[in-house]
Symmetry: C2
Subunit: 131 residues, 2 copies
């Protein structure tokens, strides 16, 4: 008869936001990528609490360095990022956030912040603001 205390299957390690590697300011860079198209939308910063809030709420929440405050993406603009999946890199010092982005991610009203390409030594705008 099986003992009720039989060993469980090998557990996957629990994720602890505080165990990430933060910089001297307690921040970690987070890359937001459109989960459906693969487009890289933006890079912003998180602290341990904003990582936890992102996971808890499903709403991507950064730390605004300029305002020194939590920044629930889209809270004022409506251009929210719904969390699809959070990924951690090998060094635990960078995050990849797969998101469902409503409207533009960029404050310039473009879908992505990376709308300027360098071509033959010149800056070229490759993406127009959304209508």
């Amino acid at each position: 008869m099986c003992a009720p205390s039989a060993a469980p299957p090998a557990a996957t390690p629990a994720f602890d936001p505080a165990a990430l590697r933060f910089d001297a300011n307690g921040l970690i860079p987070a890359i937001a990528q459109d989960h459906a198209t693969g487009e890289v939308l933006m890079l912003a910063w998180m602290n341990a609490e904003s990582v936890a809030r992102t996971l808890d709420t499903g709403r991507v929440t950064y730390w605004s360095r300029s305002r020194a405050a939590f920044w629930v993406k889209g809270e004022s603009s409506g251009h929210v990022q719904r969390l699809v999946e959070l990924r951690v890199d090998c060094d635990r010092d960078c995050l990849l956030v797969l998101v469902d982005q409503t409207g533009p991610a960029c404050h310039t009203n473009r879908r992505s912040c990376f709308y300027t390409a360098v071509r033959e030594g010149a800056e070229v705008e490759i993406m127009a603001p959304l209508e």
Copy 2:
């Protein structure tokens, strides 16, 4: 008859690596993305000179913070990144580098450094090392 000194078309601004916004250590984060698949491969750091070298040579060249030295990606491993296009974000404080990646980008021999997902509070490995 047209004057030979007729005004040229509106010029695109020349790109100057020194005009990017670097952090207190003179560095800017650079996201490497597979130009063909859209997969985000890694994030590393560049200084102005490594941005210039990347553009000049077509070989993606980071600044290694741990070694305090230029890091021509793949120079020792053979897992080079050929530059396809460099892009700058709206705040000029982050780069997106579209690359043609030979082999794995990650030192763990995985294609991408972002091989750990957080699912239901646990860390899950979603990508195996390449053979």
